[in-house]
């Protein structure tokens, strides 16, 4: 956001000087130069994304109002909002899945933000080996989630895994990890933290480098210690970057599928212990062919995500102005 404003501020005055330049030749701005050009260039991208979204959206909303079940082209009839009431009154699968989705996202993203920010602050000033550390940071966030899931299954294997072996050294009894109902979700959150904290660090580090140094210097001269400078100077200046990073990571965390499905399989395990909304909707659709109910769940899920993004973006805009 900061960069955008500066970029706009930079082009703004530039434009007015050009317009006022007494060159004699009337200057044609880009906007005037070719009105049709911009739409010609935009059309393929917007058309493609629009088509890929518009039809599915209409299709899904339509399906959510029917009792579609079984084969994709089997007949179905409209049942009004029945699927929505079914979902919203379902305390066995739907609401627990909502709870797990929120728990997973909040837990993982909060940890990732705190750890990511701490690491970004540590890496803020140049040090020897900085390039190597930055390269290491890139690996988890670029690695294939399915491969990462399988790798952690090996590490966390209750009997043969290295994790329990290492815990044994510090006197902690062997844990079940992904094999247990109660530990599955927290374990998945920790794997998510391992994979995505570096992403937060990379984003926040980029934000930190755009901050001006003067306010912090002034505070230092006034005798503020490192913690006070962090809380009262850096944190407020970094607010927009933090909120943007939260939106980006939060949306992806809400939709986490690959990791959960690869490690826990359909239904998020035998007791649905890791079943989030995405995994639930996937199971309803492709394992049970309950297209009507699945579409209702997906419509609710999409509305939920959109609401969160809208609220967070409004906050971002407010903090930017």
């Amino acid at each position: 956001m900061t960069t955008t404003t500066t970029a706009r501020a930079a082009t703004g005055p530039g434009k007015s000087t050009r317009a006022a330049a007494p060159s004699g030749k009337p200057f044609v701005t880009f906007e005037q130069a070719n009105r049709r050009l911009k739409w010609a260039l935009l059309a393929p991208a917007l058309g493609f994304v629009g088509l890929m979204i518009a039809f599915p959206l209409v299709f899904t909303i339509n399906l959510s109002l029917t009792d579609a079940f079984g084969a994709v082209n089997a007949g179905s009839s409209y049942v009004g909002l029945q699927n929505f009431t079914d979902a919203l009154t379902d305390t066995r699968r739907f609401w627990p899945a909502v709870g797990r989705t929120v728990t997973f996202t909040l837990g993982a993203v909060v940890l990732e933000t705190v750890l990511g920010l701490a690491l970004a602050m540590l890496m803020r000033k140049a040090f020897r080996g900085m390039e190597i550390v930055r390269t290491i940071l890139m690996v988890p966030l670029l690695a294939t989630p399915v491969a990462i899931g399988i790798l952690w299954m090996l590490i966390l294997d209750p009997t043969n895994g290295i994790a329990n072996h290492l815990l044994g050294f510090v006197g902690i009894p062997p844990q079940e990890f992904l094999g247990s109902v109660s530990q599955s979700l927290p374990t998945l959150m920790l794997i998510d933290v391992w994979q995505w904290t570096p992403m937060m660090t990379v984003l926040l580090l980029a934000g930190l480098t755009t901050l001006p140094e003067e306010p912090e210097e002034a505070a230092r001269v006034d005798g503020a210690n490192a913690w006070q400078r962090f809380v009262h100077i850096i944190l407020p200046m970094l607010r927009t970057t933090i909120l943007t990073a939260l939106v980006l990571r939060g949306v992806d965390a809400l939709k986490t599928f690959d990791l959960i499905y690869a490690t826990k399989g359909p239904g998020g395990g035998s007791d649905f212990e890791a079943e989030t909304l995405n995994v639930y909707a996937y199971g309803l659709t492709f394992d049970y062919q309950e297209y009507g109910l699945a579409s209702a769940v997906l419509v609710l899920f999409t509305l939920f995500i959109v609401a969160i993004v809208v609220v967070l973006r409004r906050r971002t805009e407010r903090s930017a102005s």
Partner: protein, 271 residues
């Protein structure tokens, strides 16, 4: 002075610990790929052992892995190339004609859960007889990479000084000519980083191929997933396959770190 020194030591220790936590699981994966199946399931065998190529030999002897590697490459390269062609001119238009609101419609594509699109896509492409084809995988992956490239490149074009293109236009180039001859060459580094990221996202994509691919067009993540379902005891083979999957990504991280950071943060530090 001593406070600064002790801070530097503490910082060094902490950063080392973090790097170890991040890289050890990956090192463990690569090490396991070179272990016998007895060694893989014995946690007392650490990182010192006599390596074997057997796991790689086994997974490569089964043609399915090589075939799916080819599928992933084909889908990744073609979907990325087409996305660059579609998204880069659009990004320039959004950046230069200041149509950010129009551009941000594409953000919607990032927000919607992929699964809510999969059933309609499946239905739509089944009617066209395309399910299981490479084309349908390419199109679905483009749905991710077009918005990604667009998002990165809008920021990139906005940061290029418009004066260069203005000068070219006063010298007689059209707006489109200025884009082709001036902006596009200057945007090459940004395009490269956006393209590499788009390829990696395609390479890693699991859910689209899980539904839209068949035996013949299966990509590597799906193969890996299936491989695990019925061969869950062959950890060595699994880790060899996972290592092969991760190699291109590791190479990208090592050789393109700066590029990739620029791409990843492009959308974030701008609004």
């Amino acid at each position: 002075m001593s406070a600064t020194t002790s801070f530097k030591v503490l910082r060094g220790v902490l950063i080392t610990v973090v790097c170890a936590v991040i890289s050890l699981p990956i090192i463990w994966m690569i090490a396991a790929a070179f272990k016998t199946n007895v060694q893989v399931t014995d946690p007392t065998v650490g990182l010192v052992f006599s390596p074997t190529w057997d796991n790689f030999r086994n997974v490569l002897a089964d043609g399915a892995l090589v075939h799916s590697f080819g599928n992933s490459m084909l889908v990744g390269v073609v979907s990325t190339a087409l996305s660059v062609v579609v998204a880069v001119p659009a990004a320039w238009a959004v950046g230069r004609f200041r149509m950010r609101r129009t551009g941000s419609i594409v953000l919607v594509a990032r927000i919607i859960p992929a699964i809510s699109l999969l059933v309609p896509w499946y239905y739509m492409f089944a009617q066209l007889g395309l399910v299981g084809s490479h084309l349908v995988l390419i199109l679905s992956h483009m749905f991710v990479s077009v918005p990604l490239i667009l998002w990165i490149m809008i920021g990139f074009f906005e940061s290029l000084p418009v004066e260069l293109e203005d000068a070219a236009r006063t010298d007689g180039l059209s707006a489109f000519g200025a884009f082709l001859r001036i902006a596009l060459p200057l945007a090459a580094p940004g395009t490269a980083s956006a393209a590499v990221l788009a390829f990696i996202f395609s390479w890693n994509n699991f859910i689209f191929a899980l539904i839209l691919a068949d035996e013949r067009t299966m990509t590597m993540p799906v193969l890996l997933f299936n491989f695990m379902s019925y061969a869950s005891t062959d950890w060595g083979g699994l880790m060899a396959a996972a290592t092969l999957m991760t190699v291109p990504v590791l190479l990208a991280a090592i050789f393109g770190q700066r590029f990739l950071v620029a791409g990843l943060t492009a959308g974030a530090t701008k609004g």
